[in-house]
Point group: C2
Amino acid sequence: MPAHTEHQPIRIALLGCGVVGTQVARILLHERRSLARRVGAELTLVGIAVRDTTVPRDPAIPTDLLTADATQLVENADIVIEVMGGIDPAQSLIEHALASGASVVTANKALLAQQGPALYERASHENVDLAYEAAVAGAIPIIRPIRESLAGDNITRVLGIVNGTTNYVLDQMTRHGLTLDTAVADAQRLGYAEADPTADVEGHDAAAKAAILASLAFHTRVHLDDVACEGITKVTAEDVAWATRSGHVIKLLAICERTTHGVSARVHPALVPTTHPLASVSDAFNAVFVEAENAGPLMFYGQGAGGAPTASAVMGDVVTAARNRVLGARGAGESVAADLPISAPGDALTRYQIRLSVLDQQGVLASIAKEFAARDVSIEAVTQDLRHDKDGYAVLVIATHTSREADLADTVSALTSLDVVDEVMSVLRIEGS
Amino acid sequence: MPAHTEHQPIRIALLGCGVVGTQVARILLHERRSLARRVGAELTLVGIAVRDTTVPRDPAIPTDLLTADATQLVENADIVIEVMGGIDPAQSLIEHALASGASVVTANKALLAQQGPALYERASHENVDLAYEAAVAGAIPIIRPIRESLAGDNITRVLGIVNGTTNYVLDQMTRHGLTLDTAVADAQRLGYAEADPTADVEGHDAAAKAAILASLAFHTRVHLDDVACEGITKVTAEDVAWATRSGHVIKLLAICERTTHGVSARVHPALVPTTHPLASVSDAFNAVFVEAENAGPLMFYGQGAGGAPTASAVMGDVVTAARNRVLGARGAGESVAADLPISAPGDALTRYQIRLSVLDQQGVLASIAKEFAARDVSIEAVTQDLRHDKDGYAVLVIATHTSREADLADTVSALTSLDVVDEVMSVLRIEGS
């Protein structure tokens, strides 16, 4: 990469002018002087690619910067900021930018979860920066700390609350005893959830971030398809109430682990002990809890979405990429050097809390316990819920010790066919204890 | 800086072999292969400088690496790791290393709080890296996020729990109602506090970190002498009990702020609302809460001390410095480009909670309120503590709105000379609300 002289401006192309793009443009235009001081060169916004240049924009956006010709814009830039989202045409524009020798800053989690390793390799080959702090957990610095600060350590586990919408929904259910539907409707009314909340409540958004985090944390290619994903749609008000009574809160977690079987990444609702730092992450906030061999537990907390917070993360990457161009350098690239195998979802180790409606008669617990023992699943505690209102039945809440996911699932499946079991009311994993 | 070829090993000199140095050496020796893969070159520990080579060491340390000749070691290294602490000879060895073209990684907060800006300038002049993630908040990545991730944002405030010993002491007082002396004695017994706990309980350790954080966050030279510092020695069990009753916990905070008067840095015990993310930081953990214009609130949490956690932070810096040498680059240097004035301590804006023993008679509140009004300090709430056991007297707890520190101090001073005031029992600042 050619070194910039102190005074040669760095040309910035912005692809996309939605909520995030507008804020990025505002910062680039309004903070010109302090940015130039920090970089050692002017950052010049040379154009903003939009689909339709006639759509009215925020008054902070000069209309003469708008263009529909993204390709031409990319070819005449030193740094390309991609905040349009989606796979196409974002992917081809990023590839074109890298091939043209531009550094790329992107917030595109969907693209990175599917094409990340190929793009990182391309950037490395072209000797330019590809940075994506904004793609995971919005404003929270998490990509750089994992990639650089923990580069001399070995990460063993990442537990992330990486979707603000579902955290808001679960938090409202916990605080106010709402049902899922009511809490989602509230979130929609307040702008925390979209009209179609599928990507959030089904866990797809969190799964994309899990794939990115797992790849980075374990120096291994983890694809979106490798992430076992379960959303929050089955979480009931009763589950939440039981969580509270057993000293937990329910959080949708992105879990990335390195085990003896390799690397696993999964997304599902989980019971988190109220004493765990993740338990106090409320409203639409995000947090990523990282465990490393030497550092021990670390947590990174902040706003996971929104125009200005996401733009802050984008601009951190832009300044770093720009400094690197001024210094004639590039930052550390991604490494998939460890290239660990992806472990089968059934090999994940976790704990279950199972709520069962059972016949209220002698010997029931013994026949249930037999099913656990037959599959090497050890029971930690059994509690009887006295508030069950179905005559002749009792509710048992069974917490297990850590076991293989597949053995736990088998046990639950066996319980459903027992005569003494009326209904398996809920199965939740317990994490972070 | 000359570029290293893929196979030329990077020579590492380690200065100091105490708790942290031993762990750094262990990681360098035991993780050779994965470190080499991440860096793209071997990291070779060429020697460990110690005062006395005959002192018995951890069995993980090969005795043939030990040397008493630190100068000679420094001259033959690409990266120098300084974990000996103290000003002398650390300062001259670091200066010598920089002048010899070596990158330096240090955990020396005392040195940086006093000589940081001169050393950063020297490193920049020599075009080598000077990294110090381990100097503030141990394992927690905080230096790099502030310097790089937030480089495109404007930080307005940093609130840090950056001393684990005092956090442990205050947490024990809060949880178990201990006196300060008992809690300190407990901390000493458990190894959380040193035999002479002065540097911790008087706030000196936190003040050094405040100077480093403020310099970095505000691109300004902030010296240790610029930090107003008050330790926890005056915090009583009664203060802690009152904090709990008013919905707060007492934390020793390092506070760095950018105001209209410039930059301020101060360390003192403060009442933090229990709903604030810092309130749940318990035991000897550290956390740094950062507010930035676009990112909003962020928090970084983890272990602030200890051999392995501190070594993790050191090694993150070592890997980054080594990658930079492989790539023929250097990381972003410190910038004091903003060069803001240091504001007078009296100009700091804060809130006070004042506990007073007063005559239990009519008109007392009016004469007290007059003193506040005369100094433009607005009262937010007055509570009477009914548990006062001194006949004829009442305890008033007064919380103020945000005011100038100097006006608040003047008000307290005026109260002490009022006839109706028996005693000013405690004055605590309220932060984070």
